[in-house]
């Protein structure tokens, strides 16, 4: 693999471009790769009902520069729209809602393309969905006409398009993401502190040699050198000693590890000006965290054990690399080394050497995996950068919607309702917050009731009884039904904006394939300011 060698003179300065400056605060989250993905995405919103939550979602996607956005909305703008939707104005009254929304949304970012329907050329949702334009994600808001929903569902199945349902009424809301299949994510952005993988229990020859060179004469090192040994080297040195005294085995039990820790602590020099050594403190503090026998992380295990529903899926870059990593793991009993070394007290030169030893091993592991990938049919064209990224994040790879549609949705809802009822009964003991499933249940019967039509709490409870028999008698479901009835299908702007923010976050995660999206339903309770994610 090529290594970029830094030239000896500083490069000519290219300040950031205008676009980089505009998007600076988000590029720090999802980098140029995420931005490129966002800019090639095409989002469709099928808007109905009070019509705000979907528009607030789009606002949060237009601003960061989504490629294209389209709105399908049959309604014309009414007085009530102006009281809840910020992207309409007095002059919009009586005109096409999709057109006026699109025009005011596009003002936010000249780089975004937008279109609105129905228009002169495309007069129905059906003809829009049969047009050549392919959507990356489709959002729709409840209450939606049942015939529209079935159009969207069949489009989503046919084109493998993620379909997102959103419902916002009064203080309550939920949204549900329907992914077309298992959705793997490599670039999950785990917490920095979780990613340290130093392999102290299974060091490779170069690392062992480096540590030995530095500690050969450890007792005669000057205070300066002794006080600047990197903690990795300190731990490797005392592990060798431990192994010599313990028949070759490393400290494994908690008791052994604390014993080992105090050996390290006692090895610090205290007769110097500072009365101690920071690097030995760091070493002692790292004992429990780093002397851990690696086990296969659950996310990756799920990937390794995943059975493909469709053979085509198996040919994607992700799965080819995953197979190669699995082979690597079976052969070496360890994952490819990520290669990152946390900052630690050390002399600059020594730290950089140590860093290079880890980087070199990481490159070697990645090269082995790349070789396996390229030897697989279909793997010849895999981008080596994709392999590198997988190797760096292997321990944190995550599979969303792994079980896909294997269980029928109606059955799963009953199952989850039973589980949530049990956990609510114990809530007082376990100090867990109460389930928000009642909100989801109370909103369900209004999914197709247009905002003009009143539905009573009793009507809602009748609907709940059909979904989960017996739930209509639960006191919290009854309260939720009354709260939903109070809204009469109307939105509160704040709740729509809040949920629009959450949905936009999720779409960004899905489009950029970074961070981890929900699996698969998020319920929001605006009375208690809480959310709950449920797999429904």
């Amino acid at each position: 693999m090529t290594e970029i060698v830094m030239s000896q003179t500083p490069p000519i300065l290219h300040g950031p471009s205008e676009k980089e400056r505009k998007y600076d605060r988000q590029l720090r989250l999802w980098a140029a790769s995420g931005q490129a993905a966002l800019e090639s995405a095409n989002i469709l919103l099928v808007n109905s009902g009070a019509g705000t939550v979907g528009v607030e979602t789009l606002k949060n996607l237009v601003l960061p520069g989504i490629g294209r956005s389209a709105i399908y909305d049959d309604e014309t703008v009414t007085e009530a729209d102006l009281g809840v939707n910020f992207f309409l104005e007095e002059s919009s009254l009586g005109k096409s809602r999709s057109q006026n929304l699109t025009e005011l949304l596009l003002e936010l970012n000249p780089e975004v393309q937008g279109s609105w329907y129905p228009n002169e050329d495309i007069k129905s949702l059906e003809s829009l969905l049969s047009s050549p334009s392919v959507f990356t994600v489709i959002l729709y808001t409840n209450p939606i006409k049942p015939e529209y929903l079935s159009l969207l569902e069949s489009y989503s199945q046919k084109h493998k398009t993620p379909l997102v349902a959103i419902h916002s009424a009064g203080f309550y809301s939920y949204f549900q993401i329907n992914l077309p299949g298992a959705f793997p994510i490599v670039d999950t952005h785990p917490d920095e502190t979780a990613t340290t993988d130093l392999r102290l229990l299974a060091p490779w020859p170069e690392l062992v040699g480096f540590a030995k060179d530095l500690t050969r004469d450890i007792d005669n090192l000057s205070d300066f050198e002794h006080g600047h040994l990197p903690y990795v080297v300190i731990l490797l040195h005392y592990l060798e000693k431990w192994k010599a005294d313990h028949g070759g085995s490393c400290p494994s039990t908690y008791k052994e590890k604390t014993e080992f820790r105090s050996i390290v602590q006692k090895a610090a020099r205290t007769d110097n000006a500072e009365g101690g050594e920071e690097n030995f403190d760091e070493a002692a503090a790292a004992v429990l965290k780093t002397l851990v026998v690696p086990s296969l992380p659950s996310g990756l295990k799920e990937v390794f054990e995943y059975e493909h529903a469709e053979p085509a899926e198996q040919k994607s870059g992700f799965w080819l690399i995953a197979d190669a990593v699995k082979k690597f793991y079976e052969k070496h009993q360890s994952l490819p080394l990520p290669g990152k070394v946390p900052d630690m007290k050390a002399q600059s030169k020594v730290y950089i050497q140590l860093q290079n030893i880890y980087k070199a091993k990481a490159r070697q592991d990645a090269a082995e995996i790349l070789e396996t990938v390229q030897a697989t049919p279909g793997g010849e064209d895999i981008d080596p950068a994709e392999v590198d990224l997988f190797c760096k994040n292997a321990a944190f790879v995550k599979l969303i919607n792994a079980t896909g549609g294997k269980i029928k949705r109606a059955d799963r809802l009953k199952e989850v309702a039973a589980q949530e009822a049990v956990s609510d009964e114990m809530a007082e003991m376990t100090l867990q917050p109460l389930s928000l499933l009642p909100i989801y249940l109370a909103l369900q019967p209004t999914a197709h009731v247009s905002s003009g039509d009143k539905i009573s709490a009793d009507g809602i409870l009748e609907g709940v009884a059909k979904l989960v028999p017996g739930a209509e008698e639960n006191e919290r479901v009854v309260q939720a039904a009354h709260e939903v009835a109070r809204a009469e299908g109307g939105e509160l702007h704040n709740v729509a904006a809040l949920v629009g923010g959450m949905v936009a976050q999720e779409l960004i995660k899905i489009v950029t394939k970074q961070y981890i999206p929900i699996d698969n339903t998020c319920v929001f309770d605006g009375i208690n300011s809480r959310t709950q994610v449920l797999r429904l």
């Binding site: 830094m6 500083p10 300065l13 950031p16 505009k22 600076d24 605060r25 988000q26 590029l27 720090r28 989250l29 607030e56 606002k59 949060n60 601003l63 960061p64 009414t78 007085e79 009530a80 009281g83 809840v84 910020f86 936010l108 970012n109 000249p110 009064g170 203080f171 630690m344 050390a346 600059s348 950089i352 009573s456 709490a457 309260q479 009354h482 709260e483 009469e488 109307g490 939105e491 509160l492 702007h493 704040n494 709740v495 729509a496 904006a497 809040l498 629009g500 923010g501 959450m502 936009a504 976050q505 999720e506 961070y515 981890i516 929900i518 009375i527 300011s529 809480r530 959310t531 994610v533």
Partner: protein, 436 residues
């Protein structure tokens, strides 16, 4: 239950139909002792509301409050619009770069939403006194600085006057970082305050100066070295301006050379800017979540149509969108030893004709604490310090002076410390027993 109750619209019933159904009718969770649907819409239209910050959160807050039936809103922000704001601060356009945030935001929302009045203040919050803050019913904060949050918090807590109902101003505060954020409600002296909650903000990890000076290992160390040490030594420009690309370039060049010297990779212009300006990643979506969570509380506080955060229990919502969506809504407990809300000034009856010495002697007889060696200050005025010796000497002449001659006034606060009370200090509010 709720559904049949009457709706009480104030003005423009057709426009606010969705809102009025919720805010003027009780629901199953509405506290009926506090709620009176009849007056809600009208009262809200009369309320005066203050928004602090017209940035990422502020733009959203202004939109949300105007769409929630508030009609008289003030906004304070001293910043001007920068290109890097446009990815989220949706009230600003490219042509607005360089203009006042407060003014552009106010004008935009007034143009869009009929009947709302927004008064912009292009200045610092510290430019206003208590009289200014007293005119508002509550304050919503969308700030990126902990400093400003602490200031407004201390101001609002200090404004509390038990005798005056209107002196309790709820403070609703939001903050974001990347996909994460928090929304909280502070009811001064009732719930925990921003100062009580300071431990919720992780301080920025500092690197030892000597690491920067002699053993850098990370690109950040090289940048900090350029920022803290090289700049001070070379002073290439009279004063470092973080927003001036020429200044950032200078630091970047310095950092890059240093990184090469030590074979450290990873110094970029963007990282340099990030470290020097302490840039926090920010996106529209997260601002939307947090600002709306704040304004949702504002609507509940103003109308009582549903219970708000802060009363009786939970006052803090944490939000994280990095790994799925996770919220944690909880009660952050008030700290008894909070230097702001745990230490309100007590009344102290004094004779204005007393000398400072007489005042100090009187502390020895106070029932709550017999202060034998008290040191006494008023804001910006050192009255008498027992220690250190140089200050003692400088302030000793004050002991002979009368309180009024020292400039002390009715109602003024003084701070009293005593080495015998290692963990507490006292605040007293002077109440003159005789006319001066």
């Amino acid at each position: 239950m709720a559904t049949d109750a009457q709706v009480f619209p104030a003005s423009e019933p057709a426009r606010w139909t969705y809102l009025d159904k919720i805010r003027t009718r009780p629901g199953p969770f509405t506290n009926r002792d506090l709620f009176e649907g009849k007056n809600v819409a009208e009262n809200m239209e009369k309320m005066k509301v203050l928004v602090i910050g017209a940035g990422g959160l502020g733009c959203e807050i202004l939109k949300n409050l105007s769409m929630s039936g508030f009609k008289d809103i003030h906004v304070i922000d001293m910043d001007t619009i920068d290109l890097s704001n446009l990815n989220r601060q949706f009230l600003f356009r490219h042509a607005d770069v360089g203009k006042s945030k407060a003014e552009v935001a106010a004008n935009f929302v007034m143009k869009r939403v009929k009947g709302v009045k927004i008064t912009p203040h292009n200045c610092m919050i510290q430019d206003f006194d208590e009289d200014f803050y007293m005119q508002f019913q509550f304050v919503v904060c969308g700030l990126d600085s902990i400093e400003a949050r602490r200031w407004i918090n201390a101001t609002l807590v200090n404004m509390v006057d038990e005798e005056i109902e209107d002196s309790y101003k709820p403070l609703i505060d939001g903050g974001t970082e990347g996909f994460k954020g928090q929304a909280r409600v502070i009811l001064p002296t009732v719930t925990s305050c921003i100062e009580c909650q300071l431990d919720m903000h992780a301080p920025r990890a500092a690197v030892p100066l000597c690491t920067l000076a002699s053993i850098p290992r990370q690109p950040e160390h090289c940048i900090e070295w350029a920022h803290v040490i090289a700049w001070e030594n070379e002073k290439p420009f009279p004063k470092l301006d973080n927003d001036d690309p020429a200044h950032i370039n200078w630091l970047y060049q310095k950092a890059l050379l240093r990184a090469m010297e030590f074979n450290i990779s990873g110094v970029t212009y963007s990282l340099t800017q990030g470290v020097v300006k302490n840039i926090i990643p920010a996106i529209a979506a997260t601002n939307s979540v947090i600002a709306a969570a704040c304004c949702n509380e504002a609507l509940k506080i103003a109308s009582n149509c549903a219970p708000c955060l802060g009363f009786p229990d939970n006052n803090y919502m944490m939000y994280s969108g990095n790994d799925s969506i996770y919220t944690y809504t909880f009660k952050h407990e008030k700290k008894d030893d909070c230097p702001v809300c745990g230490n309100l000034a007590r009344e102290l009856a004094v004779d204005p004709a007393w000398t400072l010495q007489e005042l100090i002697d009187s502390f020895a007889a106070r029932p709550e604490a017999q202060l034998k060696k008290p040191s006494v200050r008023a804001e910006g005025r050192t009255l008498y310090m027992q220690f250190p010796p140089s200050l003692e000497q400088q302030t000793r002449p004050n002991l002979e002076k009368k309180l009024t001659d020292l400039g002390l006034e009715q109602g003024q606060e003084i701070g009293v410390t005593d080495p015998a009370f290692a963990t507490v200090s006292f605040k007293f509010k002077l109440k003159f027993t005789k006319k001066t």
